[in-house]
């Protein structure tokens, strides 16, 4: 008996009623890429468009008021979900944009200071000098790697990274990586490929000892476990809505209030200003400073409904449920000859992203045969090419689980791999 009532959860997800190739039932094991959406989220978004649609933070009419209320109520609700204040939560297009927003705060502060332009009080924390260091890890998604490479290229800062052990964990043996030049440590909470859940208290301790900022990419953790930024110890948290039952097109950045206040804007234009003249502009306080243009109100409302849905289930139960499937998947894969799991095989500090390679088969071919059997997995490099290189693979097949999966889905995957091996004769 699962900790979650999967049958009643599945009834909330219309897409799970359809069949896929060869009239098979859909076994959706790609929630790490994007989750499916329950009626509650779809209905909330539809209700916004049908009954309250207007451009928020503009206009004096009733609909504009209702839309603005719905948008700001959503902000409060989503912030509450991670133990934050609404004023410290910025909506972005996705998590990638949220990370870029922080990297551009560094770039823009650095450039403006070189030209002696006005900056918010406290912006010194974001001004980089040649030789300053940005610290990432070898397990980052490209979204938390490329923006920092770019920042270094533009400022003369140096990118350094924490390597990985053969078991798929961070190798923290070289503590000189954390030093007085380290300005920000940007790392993932849970690797999207390895499934590793990083030891954040240990990282926070190392980073604080050298007075560095910390950004946590929580795309694979906020949807799957209980998160409370008031005790987590990091400075920034970034994640996306669509991986946690919410709509596409909305991501989140949480930041400490004093840091957001000290950051120059990223995307500029309407809504994010205070006073504009032809000679220059002053900017609104956060979070609006970082939300130029008409925002994604319907998506915020949808994400707020997703948060309600997850809260009602209980995030500890969500994590326990996924743990059962992770355990069964790893055991199932270990029982098949010629399978190599990429990532930790123990279940401690491990999420439900399970990647593997099948000896003699390219993941694309594995994914194709699984698809013929109704099983949707992710194949390829998972936007984490350096992780593939670290473990000497060109690509991997990945199964990821969520609240609507159960042990039957795990069995389907294991059976599908047997079918694939038989088909190709390996």
């Amino acid at each position: 008996m699962s900790v979650l009532d999967v049958a009643s959860i599945r009834a909330d997800f219309p897409i799970l009623k359809r069949t896929v190739r060869n009239d098979r039932r859909l076994v959706y094991l790609d929630s790490g890429a994007t989750s499916q959406k329950p009626y509650q989220v779809l209905d909330a978004e539809r209700d916004f468009y049908e009954n309250h649609n207007a451009a928020v933070h503009r206009g004096a009419h009733l609909l504009a008021e209702e839309a603005t209320d719905a948008f700001e109520h959503s902000r409060s609700n989503i912030a509450n979900f991670i133990g934050a204040n609404a004023d410290d939560l910025v909506f972005t297009k996705n998590a990638t944009e949220a990370i870029n927003l922080v990297s551009y705060a560094f770039l823009n502060a650095t450039l403006k200071s070189q030209h002696k332009k006005d900056l918010p009080a406290g912006s010194e924390r974001f001004i980089l000098k040649v030789g300053d260091e940005i610290l990432v890890t070898e397990m980052e998604h490209h979204a938390n790697l490329v923006p920092w490479q770019e920042l270094c290229d533009k400022t003369g800062a140096v990118l350094r990274w924490i390597g990985l052990t053969d078991e798929g964990r961070l190798d923290l043996s070289d503590d000189s990586l954390f030093n007085e030049r380290t300005r920000i440590v940007a790392l993932t909470h849970q690797s999207n490929l390895l499934g590793t859940v990083n030891d954040i208290p240990a990282i926070v301790k190392l980073a604080r000892a050298v007075d560095s900022l910390i950004l946590l990419d929580a795309c694979q953790s906020v949807p799957h476990m209980s998160i409370d930024v008031s005790t987590l110890g990091v400075d920034f948290l970034t994640w996306s809505g669509h991986k946690m039952l919410g709509p596409l097109g909305i991501g989140c950045l949480w930041g400490r209030a004093e840091l957001l206040a000290a950051m120059p804007p990223f995307i500029t234009g309407g809504s994010m200003i205070e006073v504009v003249s032809m000679a220059g502009t002053t900017f609104a306080a956060p979070p609006k400073r970082f939300e130029a243009g008409v925002p994604m109100a319907a998506q915020a409302v949808g994400l707020s409904a997703a948060v309600d849905y997850l809260r009602a289930l209980g995030m500890d139960k969500v994590a326990a449920h996924e743990h059962e499937m992770t355990k069964a998947t790893i055991a199932g894969l270990q029982s098949i000859p010629g399978i190599r799991i990429i990532g930790p095989e123990d279940l401690v500090d491990r999420g439900s992203a399970v990647s593997f390679v099948v000896d003699g088969l390219h993941p694309h071919d594995v994914g194709q045969v699984l698809d013929e059997n109704g099983i949707a997995v992710r194949v390829g490099q998972h936007c984490a090419k350096p992780v593939c290189s670290r473990y000497g693979i060109s690509a991997a097949t990945r199964a990821t689980y969520y609240i609507y999966n159960d042990l039957d889905d795990v069995s389907a995957l294991i059976e599908g791999i047997h079918t694939t091996k038989k088909f190709f004769g390996v």
Partner: protein, 141 residues
């Protein structure tokens, strides 16, 4: 999609292995799935082009490279390009498979039903075209 002929080319690829001498070398990748090919070309006295390659990737991209080698090694640019264009059209379902042009490549027709795999099938052929152009083998008319 996985016809026997494709699996045969995949398991026993033709022409795999790089020539020492070459006029142009390209490295093409399919970053979403990790297919990679290194391909070299050199011109022969009769105006034809010798091709050699080394690759890794899925069965479709590897079989397609093997078929490409069979079909366009030692053809001139014009004939090779005609084969590439025919393959593209076949995979876009705007042209029926023509065995005279594509040989075993007509077996790739099933790939057209899987848009995510079309790039795998095209990768070696596009690499050939790129390399041949870089080597200056495309003659201005």
């Amino acid at each position: 999609m996985y016809q026997e002929i494709i699996l045969d080319h995949y398991k026993r690829p033709h022409g795999k292995g790089l020539n020492e001498e070459f006029q142009a070398e390209v490295h093409h990748v399919n970053p979403t799935c990790g297919d990679e090919i290194t391909l070299r070309v050199s011109g022969n006295e009769d105006g034809t082009i010798s091709v050699s390659y080394d690759n890794q990737g899925c069965s479709i991209s590897q079989a397609s490279a093997s078929i490409m080698f069979d079909q366009i090694n030692n053809l001139n640019f014009e004939h090779g390009e005609k084969a590439v264009e025919h393959l593209v059209a076949m995979l876009q379902r705007t042209q029926d498979p023509n065995e005279d042009v594509l040989g075993d490549g007509i077996a790739l027709v099933g790939v057209a039903q899987y848009p995510a795999r079309v790039k795998c099938a095209l990768l070696p052929w596009m690499a050939w075209k790129d390399a041949a152009i870089q080597a200056g083998m495309k003659k201005e008319r």
